[in-house]
């Protein structure tokens, strides 16, 4: 089949990094056309992800030796089903956010937004594709810097303070990770994940590296109690940036943690999984309660991110005897990416329309911005974990794993977290139905800002209906170390 071999013959993975980098520089050079160039780049990236997906389905895992040297001398790119899943979620959110941004940013800010955003996209793709722990450090650094710079685009003291705090927290996380990389390299003489996995054995140095790298990544993933930087940064950034930060950037460091855990540290880390589960439980409950207490919409959504990130860590104590827990985590990662991005975009629309984000003063939004409120509600369905939605599948799998292992504490956390999420989602929707006491301005929201939010929210719902294709995708390359096919 000539068409098929033409698709599988191209090195789509390398293109996924080079395309957005080129796009970023071209946008930087030719500012007048930044918007159209940026959007075309993102569309090209989506096509490249589709190409990589086709390649993986046809030929199995993707390998690429950058420089042609191969490990241990050179850097290996690697993509299996898990990487592909992250890349697909990234492409979907990126496309929606890019369309949204064409309407959101005026010219002066647009020319600063596009180069930064495309570099961030390149860095995320590079992170999901790398199989080299030092190269992963460089991508982490790129992601952190680009994310902090984008946060500052909001302008004003709050955004700058949030961005600065974010930058410092993120740098501390990167440095901690880097120190772990140095220890591992000195111990095993390689920075390639597969080689390290083959040589891994328990020693004080490995424990130190495990502690440093995990702590750094947990800080970047904003697991309680290292979440302090997230609410100010995510709530003060411009809406499309908030969507990317909550949807994708925190997931990148979680993905890396999961990868390291699965490949390197899983065998040498007794007892730490329970601690991660405990912190995750606290994050779910504490983050949800904080979200309920907020009076500003964007802060509410940001605290909801703290809570939903907690769910991801519940998989660690459960995964020891039930591999479905990893599937649950993967499902939660992508469904939260879509739903939370939709929620932040919808919140951006409400703010754009009314000029404020005080929840109590949302004035009859259901009649005035029906599409946006519908998008918020649909995203809320997935965040709460109601069927049919991606969030439901993820939480259901978690519950199932917890029930079969008799972990009633985790069962309680999952259910309680869902109830609290319902509380804060309905708090917003309730205000959207009622008339506010104060009269307020109304500014038209362009269709290019309403539809991306709705489509993302719909995607989060549809995820609940396509479980089998998603699970068969994840099994490519067997990242979770199971051969059994999941229900």
């Amino acid at each position: 089949m000539p068409a098929g071999s033409a698709v599988t013959g191209v090195s789509w993975g390398a293109l996924l990094v080079l395309l957005p980098l080129t796009g970023a520089m071209v946008c930087f050079l030719w500012t007048r056309a930044a918007r159209i160039l940026g959007l075309s780049t993102v569309i090209a990236v989506c096509l490249a992800v589709a190409g990589l997906g086709w390649q993986l389905l046809q030929e199995g895992v993707y390998h690429h030796a950058a420089g042609g040297w191969g490990a241990p001398l050179g850097i290996e790119l690697y993509a299996d089903g898990l990487s592909l899943l992250m890349l697909i979620a990234t492409a979907a959110v990126a496309l929606a956010v890019s369309i949204y941004s064409t309407g959101y940013f005026k010219r002066a800010r647009a020319i600063r937004f596009w180069p930064l955003w495309l570099i961030l996209l390149a860095a995320l793709n590079a992170l999901f594709l790398s199989a080299d722990i030092f190269n992963l450090y460089v991508t982490l650094e790129l992601v952190g810097l680009a994310a902090a710079a984008l946060t500052a685009l909001g302008g004003g003291a709050a955004a700058l303070r949030g961005a600065m705090r974010y930058l410092l927290a993120s740098l501390l996380g990167s440095l901690s990770y880097l120190l772990g990389v140095a220890l591992l390299y000195h111990s095993f003489g390689s920075v390639d994940i597969a080689m390290l996995a083959a040589r891994m054995e328990s020693s004080p140095t490995v424990w130190a590296a495990l502690g440093l790298m995990s702590a750094g990544l947990i800080m970047k993933t904003a697991l309680y109690p290292l979440h302090f930087w997230l609410p100010p940064a995510h709530s003060s950034a411009p809406a499309p940036v908030s969507a990317v930060l909550s949807g994708l950037v925190v997931k990148a460091s979680f993905y890396l943690l999961l990868r390291l855990w699965l490949e390197l540290f899983g065998s040498v880390s007794e007892g730490i999984d329970n601690m991660l589960g405990l912190l995750g439980s606290v994050a779910v409950l504490w983050g949800s309660v904080q979200a309920l207490r907020q009076t500003r919409l964007k802060l509410l959504v940001a605290y909801s991110t703290v809570a939903q990130l907690g769910y991801l860590f519940l998989a660690f104590p459960l995964a020891a005897s039930a591999m479905t827990a990893w599937n649950a985590a993967a499902y939660l990662v992508i469904s939260h990416a879509l739903a939370k991005a939709a929620m932040f975009l919808a919140a951006g629309n409400l703010m754009h329309f009314a000029g404020h984000d005080r929840i109590a003063d949302l004035d009859r939004m259901v009649q005035r911005l029906p599409l946006t409120v519908f998008a918020f509600a649909l995203a809320g369905v997935s965040i709460m974990g109601l069927p049919p939605s991606g969030g439901f599948i993820g939480k259901w799998l978690l519950l199932e794993a917890a029930l079969t292992q008799g972990r009633w504490d985790l069962v309680a956390v999952v259910i309680l977290g869902g109830l609290l999420a319902a509380g804060y989602v309905f708090k917003v929707l309730g205000s959207a139905f009622t008339q506010a006491a104060v009269p307020q301005r109304a500014r038209r929201v362009p269709a290019s800002m309403e539809w991306p939010a709705l489509l993302l929210a719909c995607a989060a719902i549809v995820l609940g209906l396509v479980t089998l294709p998603v699970f068969s995708l994840v099994t490519i390359g067997d990242a979770f170390g199971v051969d059994e096919v999941v229900p």
Partner: protein
């Protein structure tokens, strides 16, 4: 032998002392001076560990450029809130922070002990990948192993690192407004010195770039020297007449990552693997990338020191 280990012990203790002074000094200016001294001592330490490339980079970037950036930031901090640049005299919240800082000692000491134990339990000497680097050096196009690693074996990392630099400048431009105007006429000594030093620095940068293919040196060291020349000129009050929107400025800023990405895309097209150079052309490709990277690094560092978007000269209304 004894003399050497005596020197090493003194160097180690000196590093610790200078680092402590830099962290603990309540006067920010003093802290920065100690930080620069730390960078210089660290460069000496790298020399003692037979890593002259890292020593050069540490002296140029760690002590030189970073020190200049810190001093520049301090000057602007002083200009914005006159006099209040010490950490000691601050409000209530700050004092509470200082008090809770003492409690932080306990986890930090525990962590230091754990790390110290881990480091002591490391095998004393591990060859790492140096044997493989040496074995493949012939096909890399250069004879300096560090340059071979940075631009050939792990060129993909360096490509991304050049993007990090560009990103740093873009980030600064998105946070800060236009650059502040030059403060005053430079003193005659500074003016004369910069006229004398700039060509010399350019010459040394060009030498470092050229020699990098076979001896310690290379794009990062040469680029940071170019950046230092830029810092000197900016301090002397000189401003290039280009705005941040000028295409020429943007072209030089993106030259390094741009050429690198172009080479990556071209090699992907030709050989199916990005950044795989044909051995016959590896040397010249590396040199081209390094020249472009040096220019970009120099301009980016000078741009960072400028502390805002360059505005160019306004046309008189």
């Amino acid at each position: 032998m004894l003399l050497q280990s005596g020197f090493d012990v003194a160097l180690g203790l000196g590093l610790l002392w200078v680092a402590w002074q830099a962290l603990n000094s309540s006067d920010l200016f003093k802290a920065i001076v100690f930080f620069i001294a730390f960078g210089l001592l660290m460069a000496l330490a790298w020399v003692r560990m037979d890593a002259p490339d890292i020593a050069l980079a540490e002296a140029a970037i760690g002590a030189g450029v970073t020190g200049a950036l810190l001093l520049g930031a301090l000057a602007r901090l002083r200009a914005s809130n006159a006099g209040e640049t010490t950490m000691g005299q601050a409000g209530n919240g700050q004092r509470r922070f200082m008090a809770s800082r003492r409690l932080l000692w306990i986890p930090l000491l525990l962590m230091a002990a754990g790390l110290g134990y881990a480091v002591l339990s490391l095998p004393g000497y591990t060859p790492g990948l140096s044997a493989q680097v040496a074995a493949n050096l012939g096909a890399s196009g250069v004879s300096n192993p560090v340059t071979a690693v940075l631009l050939n074996f792990r060129g993909y990392d360096t490509l991304l690192e050049l993007v990090v630099l560009l990103l740093a400048l873009l980030g600064m431009w998105s946070m800060a407004g236009p650059a502040p105007p030059p403060s005053a006429e430079a003193a005659a000594v500074l003016d004369g010195l910069s006229r004398f030093l700039t060509p010399l620095v350019l010459l040394v940068a060009a030498y470092l770039l050229w020699v990098g293919t076979r001896a310690p040196g290379g794009a990062f060291q040469a680029g940071s020297l170019l950046g230092a020349a830029g810092v000197l000129l900016i301090l002397a009050g000189w401003r290039a007449n280009v705005a941040s929107t000028a295409l020429s400025l943007r072209l030089v800023l993106t030259a390094g990552p741009g050429v690198f990405v172009a080479v990556a895309a071209f090699s992907l097209l030709m050989s199916g693997q990005m950044l795989k150079y044909p051995p016959a052309y590896a040397g010249i490709l590396i040199l081209i990338i390094e020249i472009a990277a040096t220019l970009s690094i120099g301009l980016t560092l000078a741009g960072l020191f400028l502390g805002g978007r360059p505005r160019g000269e306004r046309k008189s209304p």
